[in-house]
Symmetry: C2
DNA sequence: ATCAAGTCTGAAACTTGTTCTAGATTAGCG
DNA sequence: CGCTAATCTAGAACAAGTTTCAGACTTGAT
């Protein structure tokens, strides 16, 4: 285990510490949200039902999560953390960085496949989020970046590599959407992921590595 | 086999021909939609307002466009067609295919910048669309593909090239979203587009590689 | 223990997308 | 022209996200 884990994601930056009961409420809400989402996707996550199902008043739900989109993005943060942990346990076996990234993403993809409704709810919320949710969405993006960099085995990426990772994330999100809305097959998603991952190779053999500031 | 399957995109496949007045209504609706969207984005396009503003009853609006998302995706089709025409008039000047595609997309991007609220409404609708809107979304996707292939100067792309184009589209949509929600700067979008466009070079080994040094 | 400030609850109200209904209008046709 | 089916209109009604509010409950500091 890393001795002094860094990161301390800054997500809880301006958040006053929650009491135990508040933490419990928050967990109940997220759990109810994920459960309803697993049933019927975005539409099935109805705020009244989430409130009832987590034994919290509607007003309280809105105090914890100021909108349905906030709630679902928080749910995604939660799931992503979990997934990052899982993925870490079995690091990908590919030879090249691009292979490992593609493998990792496809593994994540298969996990989402197991709960397609949940995936639907989270991804739709993510892309539908407006500016008021930017900090939370950014947090999800950072987490995704961390997963990809992990798979690449990098601690100190060049800016070219960061660009490639950004594009991979774009492709990942958008491919997910096309799959969720039934416009692309799983095979197609796989091809797209593999295609975009080739970008990584373009950043490797290059002799000249710029020094990161 | 289609002889020269040109346009006639099949969008109007099962659509009985509209009378003149109906065509006029449809235009009024799309116009009102674009106008409201230009003002305040997705949220400002309120179905009651669209109806009133296009002098049509609410029920009629819903007969023409079965949901707000359908309406906005149709609005996007409309705008895309227009943009394709515009872009065609001034073909991009780059040497390589990837340069031309990047240039074309950035040009399109600058056009969207001029109406950021409209862009917001259209893109949010596009990514929020569920299965019931798939045909229309697909149509938008085909139109986008056509624009990119046009910029590449290709008439019959290889499957590797089609994959690259798909990934470019993914990146384009997702980058647009991050920009619209204020999480990426225009400069960042430019970098992402240029990065992904390099994929095109990978599909043309015999084309002259530029030696930039 | 007590009090003020902050939090939670339950319920109603408000907003906007969507559906439904009954009657008026229009289009196509003999 | 007159008939019939389809379409259009105005408006009410419904659904789900969001806001509001009065009163009950916690919490933290004295």
């Amino acid at each position: 285990m890393p001795v002094e884990a860094k990161v301390d994601i800054g997500a809880r930056s301006a958040t006053p510490p929650l009491t135990e009961r508040q933490e419990a409420r928050r967990r109940r809400i997220l759990h109810a949200s994920a459960q309803l989402a697993s049933r019927g996707g975005f539409d099935a996550v109805q705020m009244r039902e989430v409130a009832e199902s987590s034994q919290v008043a509607l007003g309280t739900l809105y105090r914890y999560f100021p909108s349905k989109v906030h709630l679902l993005v928080a749910t995604m943060q939660d799931q992503l953390e979990h997934m990052h942990g899982t993925l870490r346990k079995k690091p990908p076996a590919g030879e090249t960085a691009s292979e490992r990234v593609a493998e990792t993403l496809m593994r994540a993809f298969r996990a989402l496949q197991r709960e397609p409704h949940l995936a639907d709810a989270m991804v739709r919320a993510l892309t539908f989020a407006d500016r008021s949710v930017s900090p939370e969405v950014d947090q999800v993006s950072r987490q995704t970046t961390a997963i990809i960099l992990d798979a690449m085995g990098l601690t100190d990426p060049t800016s070219a590599q960061l660009s490639a990772v950004r594009v991979i994330e774009h492709t990942w999100h958008s491919a997910l959407i096309t799959w969720l809305s039934g416009r692309a097959s799983i095979a197609q998603v796989k091809i797209d992921i593999e295609t975009v991952c080739r970008l990584i190779d373009l950043t490797e053999p290059d002799a000249k590595q710029e020094r990161k500031k």
